[in-house]
Symmetry: C2
Subunit: 249 residues, 2 copies
DNA sequence: CAGTGAGGTTCGGTATTGCCGAACACGCCT
DNA sequence: AGGCGTGTTCGGCAATACCGAACCTCACTG
């Protein structure tokens, strides 16, 4: 691959930094983080403000992400073919299982949530579309890792989220092997205590895994006494197969 | 304001074009639309692909928005102070009114939806966060226009969405005058047949209107026989006042 | 209350940077 | 085969956008 445009890459780096935390950042902070002169950054920031990608705090002069990005992000969802094709099946899955349904893709070492249906009859939930889940501690992530065509190395060390999170790379690999042979993944309180998830792969017309769909809910409903109710597994696998079939056309 | 960086502005223009429709665009199309040579655009596109803002279709070579933007957009939501402060009140509003609750801001001549709570006990709804509503045909929009500090001209001609949409600028102005005097806005089947909305302004510590909150639902529930149930209006105004009070601190 | 340092901003010279346009390679349809 | 439509490459030219030092303002402090 050839050369890339410096200023655009720098602009992207700024946006990524601003997105990495909820804090607003100043020119000086950015300059330190990126190792660039303040003047240079100021020029890029001025441009980003003009196009609405960044907003400047009137009081402090610090910078934060801008509203245009929200609109661009939601436009991405319209463009994303997997999501538009899968959205109805996710609704159906949530309805049948009476649990929240999720669709995710592999993106920069994380699971990017591209769709999320709330659990029926349960309002107070916040939408997770656009957020990241850890690959090694989520059912969606295990599926995506298991069939990752590029075999990306998992970011080590594996961050623990609960006592049950898999933190040993070797153990993760055997888990992925299991996922590959039986065709679906489970995650038992490895991300949040009391929550369990199931996921299965979505393949495109060439047979490559392009995403995963699954459900997530309380351990007492999905896996009482530590044993998964297999009916939930078949709901998830049915949905995954249906979407895969849809994508083939 | 001083100069801006050419390539970054061009990159932003490309992203806006890609976001403007669900279609994928090719280098040649972009070149025509922006009046730039193909080679120039290719360089910018290559960079945008590298940073994940744009993806290229393997088969056709055409370009579409990338997944990184989805993540940046959702990060914006974390940063947005109005939203983080208002989110609980919106939940409460949806609960009390048993209708869907909405929060929006003025952005480039549209209402940008920054939060959306589904109507309780009603799953099959799609989330609208990040989408645009028309200013002249939504309750949120009327509120934002009525107190717009910059007095931005509304994009004319006013696009009709139903038979009841206000399309005459003069009539819109008298409507906005009404909104200003009584302190809230209504929209009766002006955007979608059978749907009605109510909204009220959210002000920051300086008294400037920074957003609007409202509800939206079926005409038969909110306004049977064409008359708004005033209890819904007070729910909305209560929520708006509560958030305004919150922001003052 | 000066003094200091940190913040964001401005500015002009320099040479680096990334523009440009023509040529290339491929695929499709005529 | 031919022509047109893609997306892509390349090298030379000069416009471009970097850089670093100087500027201004604020807030905190000795």
């Amino acid at each position: 691959m050839g050369e890339t445009i410096q200023s655009v890459e720098r602009a992207a780096a700024i946006l990524r930094l601003l997105a990495s935390g909820p804090r607003q950042l100043g020119v000086a902070e950015l300059a330190r983080a990126l190792g660039l002169p303040k003047g240079t950054l100021h020029g890029i920031l001025r441009t980003l403000v003009r196009v609405g990608f960044v907003e400047q705090d009137q009081a402090t002069g610090k910078y934060r992400l801008g509203a245009t990005l929200l609109h661009l992000g939601s436009s991405y969802l319209d463009v994303n073919e997997l999501r538009t094709r899968a959205i109805n099946w996710a609704d159906a899955l949530a309805g049948r299982s009476r649990e929240s349904a999720w669709i995710g893709t592999l993106h920069e070492g994380h699971v990017l949530v591209i769709h999320h249906v709330f659990r029926p009859d349960d309002s107070m939930q916040t939408l997770q579309v656009g957020t990241y889940l850890p690959t090694h501690a989520s059912a969606l992530g295990k599926v995506l890792l298991a069939w990752d065509p590029y075999g990306e190395a998992v970011a080590t060390p594996l961050q623990p989220h609960t006592k049950k999170t898999i933190v040993d790379p070797g153990q993760l690999e055997t888990e992925l092997e299991l996922v590959r042979t039986r065709g679906w993944a489970a995650e038992m309180e490895e991300l949040t205590e009391g929550e369990v998830a199931i996921a299965a792969p979505i393949k495109d017309s060439r047979g490559i895994v392009v995403g995963a769909i699954g459900i997530r809910g309380a351990v007492e409903r999905l896996a009482p006494e530590g044993h998964l109710h297999m009916e939930f597994v078949s709901y998830v696998r049915d949905a995954a197969r249906a979407i895969t079939r849809d994508l083939a056309r």
